[in-house]
Chain length 172, copies 2
DNA sequence: ATATATGCAAACGGTTTGCATTCAA
DNA sequence: TTGAATGCAAACCGTTTGCATATAT
């Protein structure tokens, strides 16, 4: 889906809800959809204040991001450090994330078989699946190399009563 | 793994790090491991202050939960509402979660095939997997029934530029 | 004209921290 | 005895909110 039609969808979304197309919403929308990276609300706010033109307040950034998320334009992903990051959804096929615990880098992956098994699990449990959040936490290739770990090899998942070294494991 | 040995592991963990076994740590540990539910730090704090005996401050609860998580005794799970909940890990096989967006209920599920596919994905991407967080968000059987939805049937995943109704989709 | 949106600054809620005091080892 | 742990209250940080003002329709 290309920019033009996404923008159309946004305008229609506002109209359908009888919301106004303000300069702020326009700028926030444009900036959010002009990046392919994941960004936090604060990040987006900073980007906007660096740009020349109308000022946008932090409150409006948060409010508009909320709107965009409700409308299904943006998806949110929790970094695990009490901060949400967003990405645009329209024109992007579904994917899950790998988050590097060292550098924060976020990679995307997708496996249709996993999706299918999720549905199967819901079937079993009588659960109505609406959305899901699937994050793999570990080391990206670059950070793994720096640490001398073997990429691909999962770190032994024995976070047991271990000794001193962290391990933490924000496992679910 | 039964209580006795878990406790042993905890004491050993403290000793290994040259940390002291205080009455507070003892009480926090005991309370945390005496429930099979998921609990928040605040929740645990409340439980403790209802009990007779030594008082434990909120700060110590947070600090000790942190310790327990580091030691691999507790795993944390983000509710999606800016709050972490914990569960004890020792003596529990790995599982993932289904979170009811209506009533907050947390169910557990597990599928070895999904675990395997995760590893496969990491292999592909050269990512060193340390832990993961896999949450299915939707309606538990009871809430689905109340709403007249069909349990098992995934809500159409078309959160597109839709009309008025929410849909939100904190998808990843 | 008028309901909606904005900006500001204050409030929030969960979590963390600095520091004087208390306590396990 | 003494370094580590606790309690308290203040600080933090991302996010939300109340209210007076500005603005799209």
């Amino acid at each position: 889906m290309k920019h033009e039609s996404i923008r159309k969808a946004f305008e229609e979304f506002l109209r359908a809800r009888e919301l106004k197309l303000t300069t702020q919403r326009e700028r926030i929308f444009e900036r959010a959809f002009s990046t392919h990276e994941h960004f936090s609300a604060e990040q987006l706010y900073d980007w906007l204040r660096e740009e020349p033109g109308a000022r946008v307040s932090r409150a409006t950034v948060y409010r508009t991001i909320g709107l965009l998320a409700e409308g299904g334009f943006l998806g949110s992903l929790d970094t695990g450090r009490g901060e949400l990051v967003y990405e645009h959804l329209l024109g992007h096929k579904h994917h899950d994330h790998m988050v590097c615990m060292e550098c924060g880098r976020i990679e995307e992956f997708h496996d249709e078989r996993i999706e299918a098994l999720q549905h199967e699990a819901c079937q079993r449990m009588g659960f109505v699946l609406v959305s899901h959040s699937h994050r793999l936490i570990g080391l990206c290739r670059a950070c793994a190399r720096k640490r001398g770990a073997t990429p691909g090899a999962s770190a032994s998942s024995a976070p047991l009563a271990g000794q001193g070294q962290a391990s933490a494991a924000v496992d679910d």
